[in-house]
Symmetry: C2
Subunit: 337 residues, 2 copies
DNA sequence: ATTGGCACTCAGGGTCCAGGAGTGCCAAGG
DNA sequence: CCTTGGCACTCCTGGACCCTGAGTGCCAAT
């Protein structure tokens, strides 16, 4: 249906349009790329491509621009992920090397991604449910209030206030702390819920009410992945693209954690770099943007996702290369710490 | 120099321009406000106001718009802080009531401010140095690595990794933990530095090196107020104002923590609501914006600052009212917890 | 000091026109 | 059957032009 040359034409259109941001016509096409045919031939090909829905012309007698479907084909079959230059790789390494805890790793990753892709970067905090418990700490604040601190193997620290139904003494706290750590240390967070369910048997009955309060807070922390934040950076890069009035919508969408979670959650394969183009995004305000994302995590496990968001008219090969490279490096850093 | 009517004219110009975003002329001025004089008289007044630098005309034969200096006079002498409506106050209360820890308080405050003012909200995390230590926790991760958790009376939790020069045993940790809490509990963070300096005497000499590592991390945490973050929200509201090309600059400035800190740091009086208008801002990218800010904190002490940022053409009385009210409520919440 | 009158300025919006880029179609040639 | 040159057609873009209306500054009269 689409012979090789037509595909080459589509590829050329995408590349040209991405770099110039102007509809590309048959003549400029044969000039810039060395297609050994005449403009008229190209025009015939373009007519077919347009009929199939891969390109459109903004108005009669203008060049063609790719449709979402056109970009999709380009990404799937016509382009290769572009590896970063050696200089860029070094930049990533040095930039991430100074990070000392999870917060700073995430912050730096966002800045880094935004900077090298010149797009909006989105980085999800590593999900709780897949990491394991390293330590649980109970800190008495008053006699009816505890601070619960939960530390995971990824260096993440969750803190929650626990309001107790009754007063609690130091020795009870010590006991409770011992039970918690004995039973939960090393457990995957996904398994914590079932373990906690059996815990009440292990505490003396007088302490049950207080212990129950602690347990329920732990469950909340683990189950409601309420703290699964997504950090956004490089929003200023959006002003280069011409969303005209849509900019407002995009910025609004980027401020909604829920929306961002949904956006990142959509994509299927965890390990590979996935691309969602324009209308493929379920999120209303982001129908004119594309997302290039991938999973990342310590070693080979995928704990969370990161990516870049930009106009559909985006340099996909480069973006994919950057996202892949950054994800790998962050994975290394996470594995080391 | 400026009689009452001229001041009234300036006030009217500011109010009209803020609400319509169009240069305001002498005729529309006498129509909308009940000044009992003719347009010609107003024109004379406006000529004086322009000569004094309070207003300008964008081009000949257009109406006048206020200058930064004009807004300044308006804010200082011609306007009163506009209290919020009862409904708005209730909204604030219910919105903030659900917050359970410092993070969520800050998050909610940002959203709230952005929403009711329809501007960009900036909220600084309560500064460490003025709060007091409530608890210090040491958690062994490996035999050469500790997690230091520092909890303040404002519910803030600071976490730092400590790399130890040598291996450390459980009993040493327990001892160190006891010393730290005995000496630092209840201290203001500002005083921690001097107290920590005397601590080495209290630990046995074999543990000195490890203890020293812990102490230096504590000092870093307290002194380098590196974690004094500023949270930004409502950036989407900027698209309503017409910065034309300056939008990019503004968005960029808002992403730089350093810039935000400088911006908030500038203002003098801690307790009162202060306004910095346009060119009064030292920050380059924000010369066309105004900041309405105030200090806030538990009770009457001022721990940090919060405010809203918008175009100089901004409804100052309302913004000031909102900022003041939100700061008070947040102060209450902080005092309670 | 205030006011009505008047001439002047100028941004914004409309129309008109020419140029040019790009297309679709067709008939001819490999 | 694919390719190609030719040609008529479309229509966006930018410039020139004009007109209108809002708004001003100045001046003489009250």
């Amino acid at each position: 249906m689409l012979d090789d040359r037509k595909l080459a034409v589509l590829r050329a259109i995408v590349e040209d349009f991405v770099s110039t941001n102007e509809p590309v016509g048959s003549k400029t096409l044969v000039d810039r790329h060395n297609l050994d045919v005449s403009p008229a031939t190209i025009r015939n090909d373009m007519a077919v491509l347009e009929e199939q829905g891969y390109i459109v012309q903004p108005h009669t007698s203008a060049g063609r621009i790719p449709t979402d479907q056109g970009y999709r084909l380009f990404v799937d079959r016509l382009s290769a992920v572009k590896p970063l230059s050696a200089a860029e790789r070094r930049a990533i390494e040095t930039f991430l090397a100074g990070a000392y805890d999870l917060d700073s790793i995430v912050m730096r990753t966002v800045r880094l991604l935004a900077q090298i892709t010149r797009q909006v970067a989105v980085v999800q905090y590593p999900s709780l449910t897949r990491s394991t418990v390293r330590h649980i700490e109970l800190v008495p604040l008053t006699d009816r209030r505890l601070l619960l601190v939960l530390i995971t193997d990824t260096g993440r620290v969750e803190q929650r206030m626990v309001e107790l139904p009754g007063a609690i003494g130091d020795e009870s706290i010590t006991q409770l702390r011992a039970v918690l750590n004995a039973c939960l240390d090393g457990r995957r967070l996904a398994d914590v819920a079932s373990v906690v369910a059996e815990l009440p048997d292990r505490v003396s009955s007088v302490e049950r009410p207080n212990a129950a309060a602690v347990f329920s807070v732990i469950l909340e922390t683990v189950v409601e992945r309420h703290e699964e934040r997504v950090v956004v950076g490089g929003a200023a890069n959006l002003t280069q693209a011409d969303f005209s009035r849509g900019l407002h919508e995009v910025l609004e969408a980027l401020e909604e954690q829920v929306v961002l979670m949904r956006l990142l959650g959509e994509s299927g394969d965890q390990a590979a770099v996935t691309v969602r183009i324009g209308s493929e995004n379920e999120v209303d305000g982001l129908r004119s943007t594309s997302l290039v994302a991938t999973g990342y995590g310590a070693g080979s496990q995928s704990l969370a996702r990161l990516g870049v968001l930009g106009p559909t008219r985006m340099d996909y090969p480069t973006a994919m290369g950057a996202v892949r490279a950054v994800a790998r490096y962050v994975g290394q850093i996470l594995a080391e710490s």
